[in-house]
């Protein structure tokens, strides 16, 4: 959950836009059924990121989310390994799939560690009502929320993941800018918007993780 109301709304708007774009890509895929599945994973990621920004999102069951994003990470790893052409990037398709796998894995990390992160951020006086909201759904949650030695490194790892996500978003944004400024037809404009979408998702996830520290 993100504490700042302004940031919540900014992230909600950002991920609503990425969800809308990826939803459009499901309807009009460039790379066939594989592209549809990848876009569906991105829609799910965007919607669950919106949920995670809000207090009510803490009530979304944790295990199905972890399962979903583990499968998504595996899916993108398979695409990477099989050198499947990327539907939304002309070059560096393997790198793009690998990045999607990494963001899916980051989602797993985010979902699994959020209770511990929230517990840490509320030690300084905030209420912990959302722990109770999430508690009935998973034993993992209770274990993660417990202030044990295992959780000590979580903020550090989270910060590192957040930094990687933000930094890697620059490659997408750069691609979007380079493609967009030379765009002469709808196809290249779509490529640019795709890159912008993934750059926004990567940066948004990174900033959200930073905000949870």
């Amino acid at each position: 959950m993100v504490e700042s109301l302004l940031l919540r709304w900014i992230l909600t708007a950002l991920f609503a836009l990425t969800a809308a774009w990826c939803g459009y890509r499901i309807a009009a895929p460039v790379g066939g059924w594989r592209d549809r599945i990848s876009s569906a994973a991105h829609v799910a990621m965007s919607l669950l990121m919106i949920a995670m920004a809000w207090p009510w999102g803490m009530a979304v069951p944790m295990l199905p989310q972890i399962a979903l994003f583990t499968i998504a990470a595996a899916w993108f790893l398979v695409l990477t390994a099989l050198r499947v052409p990327c539907g939304h990037l002309r070059r560096a398709a393997r790198l793009a799939h690998a990045h999607h796998a990494a963001t899916s894995a980051a989602m797993v990390w985010m979902v699994a560690t959020m209770p511990a992160l929230m517990a840490g951020s509320h030690d300084s006086g905030g209420s912990g009502h959302h722990h109770a909201l999430g508690a009935p759904h998973s034993g993992v949650l209770a274990a993660a929320a417990a202030p044990t030695g295992h959780t000590a490194g979580i903020p550090l790892i989270t910060a590192a993941i957040a930094a990687i996500l933000v930094l890697s978003s620059t490659a997408w944004i750069a691609s979007a800018a380079d493609t967009g400024r030379t765009s002469t037809n709808r196809a290249t404009t779509r490529h640019a918007l795709d890159s912008a979408c993934h750059g926004a998702m990567s940066a948004g996830m990174g900033f959200m993780l930073f905000a949870m520290l």
């Binding site: 940031l7 933000v166 978003s169 620059t170 944004i173 750069a174 979007a176 800018a177 940066a203």
Partner: protein, 448 residues
């Protein structure tokens, strides 16, 4: 005839025989930003500069207009502080006493501070000024903040901060402070990177024309840059939205001014009185001017805090047990975190308090410099004959020439800054929206 540089000048082929440099692609974007930000934010900056100029000299104005309240003829001997407080209480019987500032010299009055008038914020106080030699009341004024600003300074302060419009008015000063550093840094880069200028640090005196105006705009702007960046940064700490973020950051990083703990372990037996508290504070190294605050609840201590805001800053605090006179808490300014000290000095320098008259003169020079730079900026615009529409403006589409690897960090950096300085972000977003709409309209209007 000398060639006059124009806003539309694209990087020439001669300048970049092979591939465009980072600067050559960034310059048009920066020029456009500097131009529009300057045009749109300059009126707010002018108001902030002129009201700030007025504020700088309020200490002298206060001495002149409130001489009766602030000063007394020198005389031998002083009445006990308790007697002076009693006299003040008689003048203002129904208010809660919040502090006493003993007269620091024989020609100053003692200030007895009470809770503010109903409906006013906690920053406002009601202060009774008492002659320390006779315990006669010499005045009753509303005062504001830690510096005990008197009504004239408070009025000018509110004018500078919010145009006397309350919180909505504060948006103007936040907008000015939010954009000032952007305009200054952009202008600096443009001026230093301008290969057509002949001089960097001094203006050209002739020939007359836009080039000369530009040289004054650039050279004076360069000299004022560090001061303006400082005013922007410190000004933001007072702002509503960015200020909240700065306060939160300071809390998170423990950069706040520490307060002496006043809670006692056991209820004190009796009260040694304010005169004894003052003596104890002096014996333990505190110096006037100081404010002694009575216990705010049963079981808490007196506090004595030095109030000297000019260099060397003296802000030491003591907590004193009302029953025994024992020191129960001690916070030295020397032990403040470095960032808390820098914040203290920064705020005091912004207010013109830190170094007295030199500080005031420097601030006045900065205010006049800013107004002059803005005047020259508008003058350059006018010399380009804005007889139709918005006049000649820097070319649209500069971003298209910026490579993605440069654009991406700019986009991300802008997003982060826009979040932390929300008014900058909101106004930038609005500006971009208007610019896009104007671009679309221009595209649909042939010959526009």
């Amino acid at each position: 005839m000398a060639t006059t540089p124009t806003l539309e000048d694209p990087p020439s082929a001669a300048d970049h025989p092979q591939r465009p440099t980072t600067w050559s692609v960034l310059r048009p974007l920066l020029l456009r930003l500097h131009f529009y930000a300057g045009i749109c934010v300059a009126p707010f900056l002018v108001v902030a500069a002129l009201t700030g100029l007025l504020y700088v000299f309020t200490p002298q104005l206060e001495q002149h207009f409130y001489a009766r309240e602030l000063h007394v003829p020198a005389a031998a001997g002083q009445r006990p502080l308790a007697e002076q407080v009693t006299a003040a209480r008689t003048a203002l019987p129904d208010r809660t006493l919040t502090g006493v500032r003993p007269a620091p010299t024989p020609t100053d009055t003692t200030q007895v501070v009470f809770a503010g008038d109903p409906g006013r914020s906690d920053s406002y106080h009601r202060t009774i000024f008492v002659d320390p030699h006779t315990a006669a009341v010499r005045g009753n004024l509303e005062t504001y903040g830690d510096t005990q600003a008197l009504p004239l300074r408070t009025w000018i302060d509110n004018l500078h901060r919010g145009l006397q419009l309350g919180d909505p008015g504060r948006l103007y000063s936040e907008l000015a402070a939010s954009w000032l550093w952007v305009v200054v840094l952009g202008g600096l880069a443009l001026w230093i990177g301008n290969r057509r200028r002949r001089r960097l640090l001094t203006p050209e005196l002739r020939p007359a024309g836009r080039r000369r105006v530009l040289s004054w705009h650039g050279a004076v702007g360069l000299w004022a840059a560090i001061g303006l960046l400082f005013l922007s940064a410190t000004g933001l700490t007072w702002s509503q939205y960015a200020g909240e973020n700065i306060t939160a950051l300071r809390q998170q990083l423990s950069w706040e001014d520490p307060s002496v703990p006043t809670q006692l372990h056991s209820a004190p037996a009796g009260d040694i009185g304010i005169d004894r508290v003052h003596q104890i504070a002096l014996q333990h190294g505190l110096t006037d001017p100081m404010q002694i605050s009575p216990p705010d609840q049963p079981g808490s201590a007196y506090t004595a805090q030095e109030m000297q805001r000019h260099w060397p800053t003296q802000q030491d605090q003591l907590a004193i047990d009302p029953g025994t006179g024992a020191i129960t808490g001690n916070v030295q300014f020397a032990d403040y975190p470095l960032m808390a000290k820098l914040a203290r000095w920064g705020i005091d320098a912004h207010m013109g308090l830190l170094f007295g008259l030199p500080n005031q003169l420097l601030l006045a020079a900065l205010a006049l410099g800013l107004v002059s730079v803005i005047f020259w900026g508008y003058r350059m615009w006018w010399l380009r004959r804005p007889t139709r529409g918005f006049g000649r403006t820097p070319t649209r589409g500069a971003w298209r020439r910026v490579p993605g690897k440069i654009m991406a960090p700019i986009v991300l950096g802008t997003a982060v800054i826009a979040y932390w300085v929300p008014l900058l972000g909101a106004s930038l977003l609005l500006f971009l929206l208007v610019d896009v709409l104007l671009g679309l309209r221009a595209r649909r209007t042939p010959g526009a």
